[in-house]
Amino acid sequence: MHRFANPARFARLSARALPWAWAVAGLALGSGLVGGLLLAPADYQQGDSVRIMFVHVPSAWMAMFVYAFMAAASAVGLIWRHALADIAAKAAAPLGAGFTFAALATGSLWGQPMWGTWWVWDARLTSVLVLFFLYLGYIALWQAIEDPGKAARAAAILALVGVVNLPIIKFSVDWWNTLHQPASVLRLAGPTIHSSMLWPLLLMAVGFKAYFVAVLLLRMHAELNWRRIRALRLTAGESTDSSHGFATLPAERASL
C-alpha cells in the first residue's frame, strides 16, 4: 500500500489548499471582471471590442501554461515513475483543451470586427489550433489504452513531443507576418499596455490560474478515487471468495 502513501498526503494537502484557491479565484475573477468591463477605458482604436482581451489573453496564456505544466508532469511521471505526476498531467488536459478552445473562439470573435475575418491560416492561429488538437490527441490516447501505466507512458511521450509547439506559438507573431498583434505584456522591455487595462488583465490572469489549481486538485482527487476503485476491483477479482467482485453498484448505475 506504500503507493498510496503519497496520495494520502496529497489528499490532506489539497484539502488545505482548495479553499484558498477558490477564494483567490473568486476574488480575482470578480474584481477583474468589474475592472475589465466597467472601469477600464475603451481603446482609442478598438473601442469596446478591446474588452474581449480580458478573457482572450488569460485563456491564451493558460492554454500554453497548462500544456507546459502537463509536459513537465509527464516528464516527471516518465522518468521517476511517479503515479501522482501522471495523474496531474491527465487531470490538466481537459482544462488546457478548454482554455485553448476559449482562446480560439474569443480570438475569432475579436478578429471579425477588428480584422474583418473570423479566421486566417497564419502562424499564430494555426499553431494554437495545433495545440488544441494536441490536447484532444492526448485525452484520446488516455481513453484508448486501458492499463493506466501504459496509457500514462504513451500520453507522456505525445505531450513531450508536442512541447516543440510552445515556442512556435510564442514567437509566431515575431517570426512570421500575421494579423495578430505582437506581445504587449510579456515582453523583455516591459508592458506597453496602459495600467488602466493592465491591472484588470493581470487580475483575470491570476483568477484563471487559481481556478486551474482548484479544478486540477478536484480532478486529481477524482482520478485517485477511480484508481482505488480499480485496485479494489482487481484484488476482488483475484480472490476466490468474492461473490460481488464486479457487481454494479447503485452509485455506478446512476453514472451510466
Binding site: 498510496f4 494520502a8 489528499a11 490532506r12 489539497s14 484539502a15 482548495l18 468591463l37 466597467l38 475603451a42 473601442g47 469596446d48 471590442s49 474588452r51 474581449i52 478573457v55 482572450h56 485563456s59 481537459p94 482544462l95 478548454g98 482554455f99 478552445f101 476559449a102 473562439a105 474569443t106 470573435l109 475579436w110 471579425q112 470586427p113 484563471f208 481556478y211 479544478v215 486538485l217 478536484l218 480532478r219 482527487h221 477524482a222 478515487n225 477511480w226 482505488r228 476503485i229 479494489l232 476491483r233 476482488a236 460481488h244 453498484l249 447503485p250 452509485a251 455506478e252 446512476a254 453514472s255
Partner: protein, 64 residues
C-alpha cells in the same frame, strides 16, 4: 431600461462580439468545474460503497 445600462450592454456597438466572448470563456470554465465536481462526488460515493461492501478500513477523510 436606464440609459447607462443600455449603453453598457451595447458595448459601443460591439455587443455581438464582446458578450459571446465572455459567455464562452466563463461558460467553459463553469462547465469544466461542474463536470469535475460531479466526477469527484461520483467516484467518492462509489469508493465508499465498495469499501463498505468489502468492509475495508477507509483511509480517513478525503478531500472533496
Amino acid at each position: 431600461m436606464p440609459e447607462g445600462l443600455r449603453e453598457f450592454l451595447a458595448m459601443g456597438g460591439y455587443w455581438p462580439y464582446v458578450w459571446p466572448s465572455f459567455a464562452i470563456a466563463l461558460g467553459i470554465m463553469l462547465w469544466l468545474l461542474l463536470a469535475s465536481l460531479g466526477e469527484a462526488r461520483r467516484s467518492q460515493r462509489l469508493l465508499a460503497e465498495l469499501r463498505a461492501l468489502r468492509s475495508e478500513p477507509g483511509e480517513g477523510g478525503d478531500a472533496t
